[in-house]
């Protein structure tokens, strides 16, 4: 009986581990998509509504999965300056959003000119970040599609194997 309980615990632990790794890939896809949507919204608030950057950031992040990053940048922009505030906000939330270093760098590039040029350049800046984010989103999706299921089922199989060997 104890062996059965132990075996099931091993299988459960391995499955949970695989599921966690798979959900990390899924989260990365979701958060990158949320960033892209919020950046499109930010572009609209800057280029068409002409809102000041702080308000534009808050509105762009509103009801988004990445609202923490946008509101953190809006909160800190007066004390740190927008470049540092955006950089800190992106890098400070990247672990929670399961982003890679490449994702962080692509997003952080937005801060260099954010708010500090005319509307046309703001549009170019945001479009440039969205363009550099596009292959990363594609890569994240394909990684999830190929590796996500592999992690989940592989982990369960590993658990079963370990349980069989131990029994």
């Amino acid at each position: 009986m104890i062996r059965l309980i132990g075996a099931s615990m091993i299988i459960f632990a391995c499955a949970a581990c695989g599921s966690h790794m798979s959900s990390g890939l899924k989260k990365r896809c979701e958060y990158l998509d949320a960033y892209a949507a919020s950046l499109e919204s930010l572009k609209a608030h800057i280029c068409f509504s002409d809102f000041p950057l702080e308000k534009a950031l808050r509105l762009a992040g509103e009801a988004s999965a990445v609202s923490d990053a946008f509101s953190a940048a809006a909160d800190a922009m007066k004390s740190l300056g927008i470049k540092k505030a955006w950089d800190t906000a992106v890098r400070g939330t990247s672990e929670a959003f399961c982003l890679t270093r490449a994702d962080e760098d692509a997003l952080a590039a937005l801060g260099s000119r954010l708010g500090l040029t005319d509307v046309e350049d703001q549009k170019r800046n945001i479009d440039g970040v969205l363009a550099s984010l596009a292959p990363l989103r594609k890569q994240a999706r394909s990684q999830y599609e190929t590796n996500g299921r592999l992690y989940r089922s592989g982990a369960v199989l590993c658990g079963i194997l370990a349980a069989v060997l131990l029994i």
Partner: protein
């Protein structure tokens, strides 16, 4: 510098909030209460203008008349200040930048120079910004004390033209006149083309304009006066520096509609103003001639027109 006849309200010290951190640390110990301008230029010493002359801020945080001892302003300082002035939203104040200045909280105006980008024969943006000139606003409550009796008898407001050379205090007296009339129960509207009278920022004025004063900023004064007439049902419209034919046509229209007008015009006296305005000066009931001597805001004459 304006010498208050009653009470001077100065918020000049808040200007340090718009200075980049790299310069702010030298400015904490300096009293800006009587300063009227702060000039930041790339590779130039940080200059502060007081009534008794120009001073430079040193690395020890004190003032000197020696330019070589002043802290040198860098490109990064200008960019940092610009970010603070515009709340990191240069795109949203593009029109103001093209107009040469941005108004910040407290009513201060920041003049901006750099390389103009011309599109369709007009300035579409200013890039490579090289200098910022902070003109510090100071409210002089009581500046209109000596003229208010001539402007109104409590029942009606006379059409009044303030005449003076630049820097004699026309705008300050117009602002205080607006406050006094507003407090006296008149519905006052201000056509503030260059954000000088009310210095609106974020939808509110940095100055006390009384309980019933509406402001339309940024629009050409001739258009603004007509818009205010249609939209706000004012008893009196106040505007600054009449110049073009359109301005006088708008004034004529207001007077025909029974609205009083208080305005200002550059000149050294009634005769000079008459040569500038022609017969249109007769639209006004009285002229208040001002001068800088012996001090800013001096009323030289109140004449019937």
């Amino acid at each position: 510098m304006y010498i208050a006849t009653n009470k001077t309200v100065s918020s000049s010290r808040r200007i340090t909030a718009y200075m980049p951190h790299s310069l702010r640390r030298y400015m904490y110990g300096i009293n800006f209460d009587t300063a009227y301008e702060i000039h930041l230029g790339v590779n130039m010493p940080l200059a502060v203008y007081f009534p008794d002359g120009r001073f430079f801020v040193t690395r020890r945080g004190i003032l000197t008349r020696n330019a070589s001892e002043g802290v040198t302003v860098t490109r990064a300082d200008i960019d940092g200040a610009l970010e603070l002035i515009t709340d990191a939203s240069i795109y949203s104040v593009k029109d103001e930048i093209c107009g040469g200045f941005v108004t910040v909280d407290g009513g201060h105006r920041v003049g901006i120079t750099g390389s103009a980008v011309i599109r369709n024969g007009r300035i579409s943006f200013v890039k490579d910004i090289s200098a910022l000139n902070f003109r510090l606003a100071a409210e002089v409550t009581g500046a209109a004390d000596n003229v208010i009796a001539a402007v109104t008898d409590g029942q009606t407001v006379k059409n009044t033209l303030f005449i003076s050379p630049p820097g004699a205090g026309k705008t300050t007296i117009l602002r205080d006149t607006a406050r006094r009339l507003s407090e006296a129960g008149f519905r006052v509207s201000i056509a503030d083309e260059r954000y000088e009278i009310a210095a609106m920022h974020g939808g509110k004025s940095a100055f006390d304009l009384g309980p019933s004063c509406d402001v339309l900023s940024g629009a050409a004064k001739s258009e603004a006066m007509i818009t205010l007439l249609r939209s706000m049902s004012p008893d009196v419209i106040i505007t600054d520096e009449l110049g073009g034919d359109d301005d006088f046509k708008a004034v004529e229209k207001l007077l025909n509609c029974g609205v009083s007008v208080i305005a200002s015009v550059h000149g050294r006296g009634v005769s000079q103003a008459r040569s500038r305005c022609g017969d249109l000066i007769k639209l006004f009931d009285i002229a208040v001639v001002m001068s800088k001597n012996p001090r800013v805001g001096t009323i030289e004459d109140v004449a019937l027109l």
